[in-house]
């Protein structure tokens, strides 16, 4: 009955992305080794990219693979290897009494509320947006996204460049060893 309403390929793509996303996410929170968690994170990010492609966000899917799975996860792996913390953590250790039970309760309430909200709302029955430019439903939307980012959201785009500079300087300051002070001590 579902297959009669929606096309089989769309359902298959959704099932694939859901499997990748949820399997990877559960792997991230359940495996003991941080390296394995990073590999599971790649699975989730790939699943999200599949969902992006299925919803006409081609450019974002490419960025998702290149920036997230390529750069951010490699950064995670670099820090894991650099610190040498790729031994197992005790997943079952629970220093705070009842922490896990409270976490389960909070997450169930939040997700249950979200799903109830989504199920009881009629998001798609309204008119399409009048504020932004309408979405092309053709092949690719790179041009459209570029136009939006460099016209409507130009100030936000410029602010992100400042944010990235601040982040780079902050990371360098945080991760740098205090060489100058030790040299002074040696000289004195």
């Amino acid at each position: 009955m579902i297959a009669a309403t929606y096309s089989i390929p769309a359902i298959l793509v959704f099932a694939t992305s859901a499997l990748l996303i949820l399997g990877g996410a559960i792997g991230v929170i359940s495996v003991a080794n941080p390296v394995h968690a990073a590999i599971c994170l790649i699975t989730t990010l790939f699943g999200v990219a599949v969902a992006f492609i299925a919803q006409q966000a081609d450019f974002l899917a490419a960025v998702q693979i290149i920036v997230y799975a390529g750069a951010i996860v490699v950064l995670f792996l670099f820090v894991i290897m650099f610190l040498g913390v790729d031994q197992k953590f005790h997943v079952s250790a629970e220093p705070l009494v009842g922490q896990r039970a409270f976490a389960v309760a909070g997450v169930v309430v939040t997700v249950g509320g979200l799903i109830t909200l989504m199920a009881s709302s009629h998001w798609v029955s309204g008119a399409t947006s009048v504020s932004g430019s309408p979405l092309d439903t053709g092949n690719g939307n790179v041009k459209q996204l570029g136009t939006a980012v460099f016209t409507t959201y130009l100030y936000a785009f410029e602010v992100t460049s400042a944010l990235l500079i601040i982040a780079v300087v902050g990371a360098v300051l945080l991760a740098r060893r205090e060489r100058a002070s030790t040299n002074e001590e040696v000289d004195a």
């Binding site: 769309a10 798609v124 939307n141």
Partner: protein
């Protein structure tokens, strides 16, 4: 015809819940950062889904900016993890209890 938007929204809600559970229960700061990435990706998936349903490119532009902020956040966060590891020789957040009264 594509599957309804509610399917993707429910999937994003579940992904957000899994990420939130990981942040609340895991002790390693690195795993907590990965779980924050999961939550950010859930929000991105919601943005793209609404962008498709409402036919507005603004949702995808928002995802673009979320990705930039996520990259900056990971850079600074991992810098903090490295700095803390130098001092404590551990990435467990339970070790960071100086401010406890």
């Amino acid at each position: 015809m594509n599957v309804p938007a509610a399917w993707y929204l429910v999937l994003a809600a579940l992904l957000f819940g899994v990420g939130a559970f990981g942040v609340l229960t895991r002790r390693s700061a690195l795993i907590m950062f990965m779980c924050i990435e999961l939550m950010l990706n859930a929000v991105n998936l919601t943005f793209v889904t609404f962008s498709r349903t409402l036919g507005d490119i603004g949702g995808q532009a928002s995802v673009f900016f979320v990705m930039v902020v996520a990259a900056a956040e990971v850079t600074v966060g991992l810098g903090i993890v490295v700095a803390v590891f130098r001092r404590r020789n551990s990435t467990s957040v339970d070790e960071l209890s100086e401010l406890k009264g």
